[in-house]
Symmetry: C2
Subunit: 217 residues, 2 copies
């Protein structure tokens, strides 16, 4: 049984707005990877992965609509900070972009599944079902491994990139938590204590994903 | 009954390779429009339209697989010229990009539906069913009309852009035809005579799409 974040889950709209907009960003990153792919075969593979991410995004916006809200309105408060996150995680080229798609989608899906534990049951079930579906991560890993095999120097650059990504991704995930304010030192300290084991697990999973690429985290 | 292009239809793989890769380019253009949208609402609307285009692309690549071919291999011979077409039709900003998405998707779907008339019946039926589905063109038209309403000077610029697009789009469509070689002057002349009424209709439809935006073609 995974440690969850049920005590730190925000209200339904706040949860869905952030999860949906981050999923849209994952899709946009995959689209960039489609458009800049070095071969037609890679382009075709990435287009499949992009369609899975887009389906997750629309699954989440459908939930927002079912909750009686307008997707764009519910996402709006989070677009500025998530756009900055997107910019910081674009990478210098196609290889870094695909690595971003692989590592951040894995991390964020994992995170939002744990955070969903505190949603009302019917939303929790839908979100977990949607985000737990593997959305082509093996296809992405295979593209990256193939690129590394063909270019020795790529491995160390992507290892560095993967380590940098985890910092930005932890920050954007943390910003989705309903934490007690810092001035309430006791409750804030309790919240931090709750978060720690979860992020330890999320980072362990990130390391496993990097291992699967043959990279050292 | 529309004039069709049954006499000029290439073999199944050649047809599907070109139609599938062009649909992928339409999707890529829509993704660019998603990523650069001026509002979260526009982004959300465009993400829906992008998912429709991506579904058409994957419908066509599924047909390629059903025909016993590999999608990337079948698309490969056409990527160079279609990539140039894509580059020429990117436009200077988001408004021109969305106009490209609206006008070229309409034109090319219309063209490939007519060209499908010469495919073996089961492929023809699948292609026509797939490409005849309206893939959110009203949503695109509405975005453009809203932008024009908010900015007087945009109308003349987009009118100019729409007129330029038709030239490039006619050329890329023509390149998908199985024409008699120019040295066979008699047959080549017959083919040109067959093409003319079809392109007249396609351009009329393009003009109607521009009218729907309130632009003069």
């Amino acid at each position: 049984m995974k440690v969850d974040l049920a005590e730190l889950t925000p209200d339904v709209a706040t949860f869905l707005g952030q999860a949906a907009y981050l999923q849209l960003v994952i899709f946009e990153n995959l689209s960039t990877a489609v458009a800049t792919a070095p071969t037609t075969e890679a382009k075709e593979t990435l287009s499949r992965v992009a369609s899975f991410a887009l389906a997750k995004h629309h699954g989440l916006t459908d939930l927002i609509a079912r909750h009686g809200d307008t997707p764009a309105e519910v996402m709006e408060p989070f677009t500025a900070s998530i756009d900055v996150y997107q910019l910081r995680t674009q990478g210098a080229d196609w290889f870094e972009m695909v690595t971003t798609c692989y590592l951040t989608a894995g991390f964020l899906d994992d995170f939002f599944v744990r955070l969903a534990a505190g949603l009302p049951a019917r939303y929790a079930e839908s979100v977990v079902a949607m985000l737990s579906v593997d959305a082509g991560s093996d296809l992405l890993a295979e593209e990256i491994r193939r690129a590394i095999d063909a270019n020795d120097r790529l491995a160390s650059r992507l290892a560095l990139w993967g380590r940098r990504l985890v910092g930005d991704t932890v920050l954007i995930a943390r910003s989705a938590l309903a934490l007690a304010p810092q001035k309430d030192a006791t409750r804030h300290g309790q919240d931090e204590a709750r978060i720690e084991p979860v992020f330890t697990e999320l980072i362990t999973a990130h390391t496993r994903r990097m291992d699967a690429l043959g990279l050292t985290a």
